[in-house]
């Protein structure tokens, strides 16, 4: 597994995805850093792979952009060849193949989430080694370490759409407060069979938390 090279743009990050009946909610912070400088304070780390599948990127900005572009291309090709959208599992599998076979040269930790006809909402996590894990919810990036406790305590299977949105906003908000590599705004996207609803939560509208 490779780490970041000196001078490489770091996504830092807090990313998250939660499944609910009818789809998934994905969320991320918006900070990209080079060392101690914030290169982009309004980054969009929620990248479309197809109309109903998004990936959350963390690790190296260059590596994750390159991998997402390649998977996006394969998604288009699959749709053209099969005449239907690929499932989330297929997308996750493609991410896994690239991340695993190139593990020595990549620094990429990705969460793949979306909706498909077969299974409804699904969440898959692909950490740095290139393993694949299907989960009810997933958190990733440097900021995730600060919210495992909160997430494990708060999450319940069978939460509805609104509850999931509140959950991710709270979680990412807490991580941003504690992690220096996470910051900016919280980007949220809700993916269902009807499409994708995107939302931005600005600093002044964060869910309440103790700030001293």
């Amino acid at each position: 597994m490779a780490g970041l090279k000196p001078g490489e743009i770091n996504l830092g990050t807090t990313i998250m995805a939660v499944k609910f009946d009818g789809g998934v909610v994905v969320a991320a912070d918006s900070r990209t850093s080079t060392g101690a400088y914030v290169a982009n304070r309004v980054t969009d780390k929620l990248t479309k792979v197809n109309d109903r599948i998004y990936c959350c990127r963390s690790g190296s900005a260059a590596d994750t952009q390159a991998v997402a572009d390649i998977v996006s291309y394969h998604m288009d090709l699959y749709s053209s060849q099969h005449g239907e959208r690929p499932t989330v599992k297929v997308a996750a599998s493609l991410f896994q193949e690239i991340c695993y076979q190139n593990k020595d040269n990549l620094s990429a930790s990705i969460i793949v989430a979306g909706w498909d006809e077969q299974k409804g909402g699904s969440v898959f996590e692909i950490p740095r080694g290139g393993s694949l894990h299907q989960q009810e919810f997933a958190v990733g990036g440097s900021g995730s370490t600060y919210i495992y406790g909160f997430c494990d305590k708060t999450f319940r299977p069978g939460m509805n759409r609104e509850e999931c949105i509140e959950f991710v906003k709270n979680a990412v908000g807490l991580a941003i407060t504690r992690d220096g590599h996470s910051g900016g705004v919280i980007r949220v996207a809700v993916i269902t069979k009807d499409g994708v609803d995107r939302e931005i939560v600005y600093g002044n509208a964060l869910p309440p938390q103790y700030t001293g």
Binding site: K5, G7, E8, I9, T32, T34, Y37, A39, N40, V42, T43, S60, A61, A62, Q65, A66, N105
Partner: protein
């Protein structure tokens, strides 16, 4: 083409190094470059100092490179890398444009640049700000040496980027007029010129709007040399001589002829 960087000369360079021959430092552009989206298009700006270590190699170099009739690219980092990378993709864009029968799009240039730089894993030290106006409107991108890109309304790169960004963060707002935008770019670059040692000399500006480009070389020149205080000319007769002898270049050539 064979993929990847060629490291053939590494062993040779190591040998030379051990013998005492140091590798000459690549000319870096130090640099402050900026890009800014405004009401009708995009404004690019750059300083004009190129450095080789602590020496100024070029006091008035061009850092805003032509990519296509509707697209220009500022370059920071290793001067040779930015020059050649932009020229190469510019050439590919021209062919692409002829092939498709359409005006080149900024995202096309961005994709070509990022995929090229990613392939070289950061060894090509080109940090670029790409701006242009195509059928889909004005666009501004920033491209890092490792191949990542950001799409933003205002960007700065190079050693003077923090100084320039402080100007943008305090003044930028959406819907600026052309004059406001150009002034802001000038202020940002001057901030880099005066507060960053790697940047200096003049401000170059390039304004790209729908169907029109205005490249202003030397928009601001705040570092002109002052008039010399006195004449340092030696009066005729300062140097004494015994007997004058003149030779013309033609004679010189004959004298130097060493052919058999």
């Amino acid at each position: 083409p064979n993929s990847g960087f060629k490291f053939d000369n590494v062993k040779r360079n190591q040998l030379l190094n051990d013998k005492g021959f140091m590798v000459p430092t690549a000319t870096k552009t130090g640099t402050t470059i900026v890009g800014l989206l405004y009401k009708d298009g995009v404004v690019l700006g750059a300083d004009t100092r190129a450095t080789s270590g602590t020496i100024v190699a070029d006091k008035n170099c061009r850092k805003i490179h032509y990519m296509a009739p509707n697209m220009y690219c500022c370059g920071a980092g290793t001067a040779a890398d930015t020059d050649f990378t932009t020229e190469m993709i510019s050439s590919q864009l021209a062919l692409h444009s002829l092939n498709t029968g359409r005006e080149a799009r900024v995202v096309t240039a961005m994709t070509m640049l990022k995929q090229y730089l990613f392939r070289y894993q950061g060894h090509i030290g080109a940090a670029l700000i790409l701006g242009g106006y195509d059928v889909t409107g004005p666009h501004l991108f920033t491209i890092y040496p490792h191949g990542s890109t950001d799409k933003l309304p205002y960007v700065t790169m190079g050693s003077g980027s923090l100084a320039a960004m402080s100007v943008f963060e305090s003044q930028w707002r959406p819907g600026l007029s052309r004059d406001e935008a150009v002034e802001m770019v000038k202020d940002a670059i001057e901030s880099g010129i005066f507060n960053d040692l790697g940047s200096g000399s003049n401000v170059d500006v390039c304004v790209i709007t729908k169907g029109d480009v205005e490249y202003i070389r030397g928009y601001s020149q705040p570092n002109q040399r002052v008039a010399k205080e006195q004449s340092y000319r030696f009066p005729a007769g300062t140097t004494e001589f015994i007997a004058p002898k003149t030779r013309t270049p033609a004679e010189e050539a004959t004298a130097m002829d060493v052919s058999a």
